[in-house]
Amino acid sequence: MGLVALTAVVSACGTSGPGETNTGALKIWALEDPVLNKIENQSIDSFKAGGGNASLETFGNDPYKQRLRVAIGSPQAPDLFFNWGGGNLKEYVDAGKVADLTSVLEENKAVKDAFIPSVLDGAKLGDKYYGVPMRGMQPVLLFFNKKVFTEAGAQPPTTWDELLTLVDTFKAKGITPIALAGTQAWTELMWAEYVLDRVAGPEVFKNIRDNGPAGWKDPAVVEAMTKLKDLIDRGAFGTSFASVGYDAGGASTILAQGKAAMHLMGSWEYTNQLDQSPDFVKNGDLGWVAFPSISGGKGDAGNLVGNVSNFYSATTDSKSLDAAKKFVTTELNKDSYIEALVAAGDVPPVVGAEEKLKKSPNPEYASFIYELVLDSKNFQLSWDQDLPADDATFMLTQLQEFFLGKVSPQQFVDAVAAR
């Protein structure tokens, strides 16, 4: 934070050259991430080289959300802010705090066309665009330990029934079939998101998001939650998941050590494994597949859930709104920026990145994700980011009770529908 404060001071000193109409540097807020912050700072340098002026401030995940909430609309508000799109952004848009970027994107057609449409739609509300993608795509994948699978003579699951059979196979061998970091509800949420999507398609959740909690009463939700309950009751996640944490590395480590066979996680799991258990990845034991299909389900097996991307959005009250618009239309689709993201192991949300991804540190993995997103008919943003904060918080609590077996599928639905 010392560095951040310093940057802020330095940039505050460098304000307003002669003839400038705005009051100073573009204030940009983003999430703390040593690797990506470096790239973000490069984009700022490039912006400065083009005659602009900007500074970056970064925050940890939860402090960021709180800080942004309090700052937005106040004189301390940033000009550009990092967000996850979807309902998370919608609250700010509804409060009139976020600038509409539709017209600048239309004027700069090349910029708009540079991004994968389904990703750009992540910050589209109604027919207006409120954000421009600024980081890689992070779909949720089913990771598995190849060595454990080979020893069991098993194949990664392509269907739900295969997944159920695998649970029995690994249980019989004394291996936890699926690692789950259940101290954090968002890991459990990934399961609910995929199962509902495969059972009923994306429309059921979109209805909940757009028309309110009554949408949870759709019979498909109980059906999906019942399927998930079968999986839990079968012992898929072992007995101790409720005290395993993701941030503490618990779930990833048991996968790497072969104590667990599979792990459903966002695409960042790869970098995480590379960091925590480098040998596991380098030996080629880390495998990944898309979430299995569910036979008889209406959802397309190519549909994805996860973080579509992260976005920069501009604040309505910004005194440097023009500079903010210039930043998002000049810096985020630059080759140098995209290449830096690729070099950091990210999969940028731009069209035609295939060639660039071959130069990625993990080309096979990066290309897999890229193709997956390009082929997907729908990419659902994580529910907790897509719902209003109060509904999301309540739902996550209910979901944890559900995984503990304290709440039945019907009780889950009744509770969240009654909000």
């Binding site: 939860d62 709180q66 909430r69 309090v70 937005i72 609309g73 609250e91 700010y92 409060a95 705090k97 259940g182 101290t183 954090q184 007995t239 101790s240 998941f241 409720a242 005290s243 395993v244 944490g245 503490a248 618990g250 480590t253 048991i254 104590k259 904060a389 109060d390 999301a392 918080t393 309540f394 609590t397 944890q400 009770e401 995984f403 503990l404 304290k406």
Partner: protein, 284 residues
């Protein structure tokens, strides 16, 4: 300068400080408890809506019970241990000084460090009790695990209180009892305990009010989980306010906490006769 007491002006800094940093925020919170505010824009007064919601909120009710349970069990665990160690440490045994400083160690660690330490120790796959009970993963025992961690952290502090008080017991009382042939147990019962009475009250008030507002340990150790098994009232307030961004309703819970805390310390004072206390020095 007719009076021996210092002039009332001496209290002005304290009163100003209290008004600015305690009374004013408290009034603001009471105001917020009658509003709907999601942190965006300005709070909108919604009458008693938060309060009627509180009455129907089963999760809030459950977290009040959890808080009370945590408070009572913490007191039951900490008081006897701290009392016994404190009295022992006030003695003259050779190993006393060394052991006392070891007992004292947990108090020197920050709460965050303690919570992370125990979280690692109790991790089901890599911790110190692999294959043992799921201390933090079993909803039926997680709250008691929290009590253990809190006790481990705070017993040293209360031990210190008892140690100091036990040293102040006049040795003449013990000498007289020894002459009368009293056993160690009866000396403890009839001399030490009554002499430590006010220390027990002080320590209990600190313990009870402390566990009512316990927050950081639980936030880091379990974040209220598994499920809601350790979601005590202050944590419920935090989650409502800073995850759900229902600042108005979170303020309502905060007011309840203030009322509970005040009522509790008043009750302990009254029940223990602390207010009628005159100087302990007299007559000793």
């Amino acid at each position: 300068m007719s009076s021996q007491r210092p002039s009332a002006w001496y209290a002005v800094p304290a009163f100003a400080f209290f008004a600015l940093f305690a009374a004013l925020p408290m009034l603001l919170v009471i105001y917020l408890s009658f509003t709907a505010w999601d942190g965006l824009g300005s709070p909108a007064v919604n009458g008693g809506e938060n309060w009627s919601r509180l009455l129907e909120d089963s999760e809030a009710r459950a977290s009040v019970w959890r808080t009370l349970l945590l408070m009572v069990v913490s007191w039951l665990v900490q008081t006897p241990i701290a009392l016994l160690i404190g009295v022992w440490a006030a003695g003259k045994q050779r190993s006393r000084a060394v052991l006392s400083s070891i007992f004292f160690l947990p108090l020197l660690l920050s709460t965050a460090a303690i919570a992370l330490l125990w979280q690692a120790l109790l991790e089901p796959n890599f911790g110190a009790f692999v294959g043992g009970p799921l201390f933090l993963g079993d909803p039926d025992i997680a709250l008691y695990t929290v009590v253990l961690v809190i006790s481990w952290q705070f017993i040293p502090f209360h031990t210190l209180l008892y140690q100091g008080a036990a040293r102040a017991v006049p040795p003449s009382l013990y000498e007289a009892a020894t002459l009368d042939g009293a056993s160690r147990v009866s000396k403890f019962r009839h001399i030490t305990l009554p002499q430590l009475r006010y220390t027990v009250v002080t320590s209990s008030v600190l313990m009870l009010v402390g566990s009512l507002t316990t927050f950081d340990t639980v936030l880091i150790l379990t974040n209220g989980g598994p499920g809601t098994a350790t979601r005590i009232l202050p944590l419920h307030m935090y989650i409502t306010g800073f995850s759900g961004f229902e600042m108005g309703y979170a303020s309502t819970i905060a007011v309840v906490l203030v009322v509970l805390g005040t009522a509790l310390s008043l009750a302990v004072m009254r029940w223990s006769g602390f207010r009628s206390m005159s100087s302990q020095q007299e007559g000793s």
